[in-house]
């Protein structure tokens, strides 16, 4: 890329680039898409179906690379091949955490995969660690606040949907979700979008006739590698499967992962004296996210809906089994969530990971034993996902977990 970053992004904005983004958390991403589009780009959240994207991915990416990168590359290529896009004005955006997990290399793997067929399509990075300076989407503080608010709204909606869908007809839940998303869409770009308390109130109000009964179905938590955990395409619609099997699914919030990333930056400073220049910013961000999460928790009080656990409590739960120094991939967060869930009402857990995921040897499968030692009634099943594995194999293991529901 010979042009400067400024020139590139100026062109990106002016020429109405279409940016493809992966489907990870359908609800949260719906809102975030609108926020990013305020900058003038058009975002398309791709949501692949069927096996084909996986096969395309297998032929484009080293098969020993992780499953998320295989299916993401496959879905992007499949989407680009549809002919729907002016390839000279299309880009692909993925997030990059810059950690010690190989996921940080998705970007280069994508570039390699696109090299031959779509050399003109740039792969952009969404990161906060200063990687890929030339290809990172620029952010203002205001935009960042909107993004975080978007994550919070999305998390709140995901939480309400998860808690109502086992007990109410699908169309009623869908309608409530749609109304809330429409309401938020209308506020994009307006000052009211940041009036979180009011928006929370509206959302909860809309869901008030979908309040779950006191006597809940068995609660099953889904934790693990972030993409496989959330993306229904990647995890063969795990959440829907569990709901069909008579469970209520519990997901950690997306914000929790954001907080985990922020927390690690602070830890790096504390442990190794890193991030000297930015530490104040990280601390500010940490306090800010805690406060906006608190608002959501307050708003849910007395509504019959269960709020997300306070992040600080999750951190403390994790410390019982693992050091917070374990920060690659989802790191200590996975065992922390497992401890936090099984110490409370969520005794059943599916811990998902891409086949051969490196950090999850340690933080996933490696931590089941101590979590069970801490809470002997914990019912945990690890499930590997891979483009070549069969759904029956996974389903059968899930069934074993379901047979022992606590």
């Amino acid at each position: 890329m010979s042009e400067t970053r400024k020139q590139f992004f100026a062109r990106l904005g002016k020429e109405h680039y279409t940016i493809l983004v992966p489907d990870m958390c359908p609800i949260q991403f719906h809102i975030l898409k609108r926020v990013v589009e305020l900058s003038g780009y058009r975002l398309v959240v791709i949501s692949p179906e069927g096996r084909e994207a996986k096969d395309v991915g297998l032929s484009a990416i080293h098969n020993d690379a992780c499953y998320p990168v295989v299916i993401l590359a496959g879905s992007f290529i499949q989407e680009l091949r549809t002919g729907k896009y002016d390839l000279s004005k299309t880009a692909v955006l993925i997030s990059q955490t810059g950690g010690g997990c190989r996921a940080s290399n998705y970007l280069s793997l994508f570039r390699k995969a696109f090299e031959k067929e779509f050399p003109q399509v740039p792969v952009l990075s969404l990161n906060f660690s200063g990687l890929e300076k030339d290809f990172s989407l620029p952010f203002t503080l205001k935009r960042a606040r909107m993004m975080l608010a978007g994550v919070c709204y999305g998390d709140m909606l995901m939480n309400l949907v998860l808690q109502s869908e086992p007990y109410y007809p699908k169309d009623e839940v869908d309608a409530a979700l749609k109304d809330c998303l429409d309401m938020l869409d209308q506020q994009i770009g307006k000052a009211s979008f940041l009036r979180r308390k009011a928006n929370y109130r509206h959302i909860i109000e809309r869901f008030s006739n979908l309040t779950p009964p006191e006597k809940r179905k068995p609660l099953v938590g889904i934790v693990g590698e972030i993409y496989v955990k959330y993306s229904p395409y990647a995890n063969n619609h795990l959440a829907s499967f569990l709901v069909k099997e008579g469970c209520e699914v519990v997901y950690p919030s997306l914000m929790e992962f954001v907080q985990y990333c922020i927390y690690n930056s602070i830890e790096d400073h504390r442990r190794y004296g890193k991030n000297k220049a930015t530490i104040a910013l990280w601390q500010l961000a940490y306090r800010y996210t805690l406060s906006i999460c608190k608002e959501a928790e307050e708003a849910l009080k007395g509504t019959g809906f269960r709020p997300y656990e306070d992040f600080r409590k999750v951190v403390e739960a994790g410390k019982k089994v693992i050091s917070t120094g374990v920060k690659m991939g989802e790191g200590w967060l996975i065992p922390a969530e497992m401890v936090e869930y099984t110490s409370g009402a969520v005794k059943n857990i599916v811990v998902v990971q891409p086949f051969g995921c490196l950090p999850n040897h340690i933080v996933g499968k490696g931590m089941i034993r101590p979590v069970k030692a801490l809470n002997p009634d914990a019912n945990i099943v690890p499930i590997d996902f891979d483009a070549s594995s069969t759904s029956v194999n996974q389903e059968n293991r899930l069934k074993l977990m379901l047979a022992n529901l606590g």
Binding site: G50, R51, E52, L58, S59, H62, N63, D64, A65, G100, C101, R102, S104, N105, L107, S108, L109, R111, K112, A113, E115, K116, L131, R271, Y272, G273, S323, G325, V326, K327, M328, F355, G356, C357, L358, P359, H361, I362, V363, G364, K365, G366, I368, P370, P382, D384, D386, A387, S388, S389, T390, S391, V392, N393, N396, K399, L400, L402, A403, N404
Partner: protein, 976 residues
Amino acid sequence: MGEANLYLGIDLGSTTVKVTLLDEQGNLLFGKYMRHGSKARETVLLQLDELMKQQGDVNVYACMTGSSGLSLSKRAGIAFVQEVESSFAAIKTLYPDTDCAVELGGEDAKIIFVTGGVEERMNGQCAGGTGAFIDQMATLLSVDVSELSKMAERAEKAYPIASRCGVFAKSDIQSILNQGASKEDVARSIFYAVADQTIAGLAQGREIKGNVLFLGGPLHFLPSLRDAFRKRLNLDEEHAFAPEEAPLFVSIGAARAAKNLAKPALISEIRRKIAECSLADEALRGKPLFESEEEYDAFLKRHRDVSVKHRDLATYVGKAYLGVDEGSTTTKLVLLSEDNEILYDSYQPNEGLPLDNLLARLKEIHAQKNPGCEIVASAVTGYGEDLIKAAFGVDYGLVETLAHLKAASYFEPDVEFILDIGGQDIKCFRVKQGAIDSIMLNEACSSGCGSFLSSLATSLGYPLQEFVRLGYFGKAPVELGSRCTVFMNSSIKQAQREGAAIEDISAGLSRSIVKNALYKVIRVSKAEDLGKKIVVQGGTFLNDAVLRAFEQEIGFEVIRPSIAGLMGAFGAALYAKELGGKGGLLSLEELNQFTYASKHITCHGCTAHCALSLLTFPGGRKFLSGNKCGKPEGKKDTSGIDNLFAWKRERLSKRLPSPEKPIGKVGLPLCLAMYEQLPLWETFFHNLGFEVVVSPFSTRSMYRAGQRSIPSDTACYPAKLFHGHVDYLLNQNVDFIFYPSESYNVNENRGDNHFHCPVVAYYGELLKRNDPRLNDENFRDPFLMVDDVKPSVLTLLETLKGYPVTKVAVHDAYVAGYQAMMDYREETKKEGDHVAKSAKEKGKTILVLAGRPYHIDPEVSHGIDQLLATMNVAILTEDCLRFDKKIRPHVLNQWTYHARLFDAAAYCASHEGYELVQLVSFGCGVDAITTDEVRRILESAGHLYTQIKIDEIQNLGAVKIRLRSLLGALEERRGK
């Protein structure tokens, strides 16, 4: 509906159907066990008919179970219970004093702990294929499974076989067979491998003791398998046995569970539901191999043209040249005339007895040939090259790659790419200007794709040719994935359950094999990259379906010689002809007297304790195999000369003297990052006054000692060995074991960041929580950034709380330790300079055996360095090179060890006389990224790239071929 007092259990497993009818008291009124082939539903219906014939159409509570029962029950609207739960229900009523049950099925392995906290465990996907694995192994040895069990009873010994998964074990077995091991011993080794896999993978530290129940078909029908489990668990027949109901056990459990789950119904009603439900067809389908008969005919005609002339052996008079290709599963022979006509050829499975097989063929040639025909020269290639050469006095041996290139060039002088899919291996070579330019061989995971086709055909009850032919006109071939045969097998089972036609499975499998070769082995991104002139060969390509699938996948036509399965032998014969007569081959008379005896010995030449096989032939000729150096052959041991691996090992074996009055005893595990940081920590603790115990280099027995506490079987072998080191150190009564957790490695300023990989960084956290003997006191893994002294000292002071050390002392010891590590790094570089200089003087090839510091562990790299040293190669490591320029790789360069790899590749690319071989541990996710990049750096500078995947597999057979191919190709290049 009415009342019922009968209970029906239907267990639909991956390979068998079990139907049971119980009465109120639990008496068995009906019980049947049957293999279902690919017809699961039909078999169930058949059994229900029989049941009705016997018992009449009565009201029952019915419940299904089993992996195949899952989707069928859903569709038919019949109650379902997970199979482990079924077993559990049956155990509780039938054998209430059971402590633990081990159940092996066709695809799954399960352990149920009943007492001391109920726990039910199933294998992960990777270890899949237990019953199916035994089936495959039996096919490999051309016996049925019960014969396999009988053979094992007659065995004298067992070989260590990688037990991680079926594919891995198969690789090991294949080479053991080729070294002349007896089938009986191999049979026993197979059962031991299954037992080891189940115990290690599932028990995960929980002891299997008390009354143990063996469940499932394989354990019931195969006494040797039960024996293997008893031996490994130290249990006797009284406490560990298979109940007589074992095969039906799970269906009995399902019948027991039926009362709570189902409503009463007539058997005929249940039968109707099963018969009428629609089968799920969720499998993705591809396009057919051939759209029409015409298309097929045209295809056949095109390929028929590429052939070699044959000539009658009985009438030919003149010189003849013999080529032998002793492959992993087959023996191939070609006898050529002076005019390159084929006088005799043979392609036969060696059935695990390569010598007997070849002996018979040679005798046959003598019997058929004209007295005026003289075999003047002979050559052999393939896995069994050394063995055959020694046994039959064959004149020449040549590397497979060269043999194939010779053969392929005969058909297409301008050949650009050769792809060979044999039974066990997939080999590809790119050819530039008549010389091999790059070689790609499959790693363990892709092994056995070819022979999988035949073992699947056999297990489905079809001869191979017919099975493949069925696929030609499959309307919608099933997609079966391409990761490995274990995964494919599981996909096939799923497709069968969903009612896929055998035609579609056959075609789908052919396509999967091709995809595995293209996307996993060759790593092609665009078909054009292969070049336009492609020769495909190997026994597997004789199947038109595979050939067709390949042409479809790459989108253009290729050349497949009619003798595709004989190309290695053909090339060897051409080679023998080129080099001319030596006449070493045994005469008819000698052949008639040919016998051999085999003996097994353990070498005590060094700590590796290799298991050797010694074959003795008439005239005192001997053949030794299994050794990794020249020592047992009486040769001078040269494996340590010009070998930086050996130097490092020696250097790291030197210990500092113990202090007189130690203030404590610390254990340092020689694993992962410790391989580089040992000087740091040994010095540090020594200077503080500790007695330091360092665990020795890893061995297989250490691995076994720690195997029980491994929670994730797919982690890399170097990490899994760590468990054994912990065990060793605990037995040394150390106060605590020390292995720091380091997210960051030393910053060498060579990349974007300086991380460790997650496994190296945090494996200590895993160990501490998974070995029940460890706690925060006796296992200390502080989080450090080693090149930052101040925070490190503070953290270490905290770590050593309770010991009489001061901050100043910790600081000084740390600084001294850090210096010791830097000194060691510099010494390594100096020794590297020295080896390079010495190699240049001797004219040796300099090979950088690049990987990670811990790859020097003899159990991790299995003596690859020693093997290379005996091939007259000087060995350097990636960290001894003096990098002279900075490169920017095309990937995110943020791990210190990996940055060295890229730099080492760049160094070799720009320095005359350096070559690089990359060692990759199986399961190393980060190397999925580095390998492509290292390859790119080397190949863009015109160098050959060779990657060797290492794991538990001890056998160096395939590695040897790979290295010899590389050295052969280098030599050939230099010659040109």
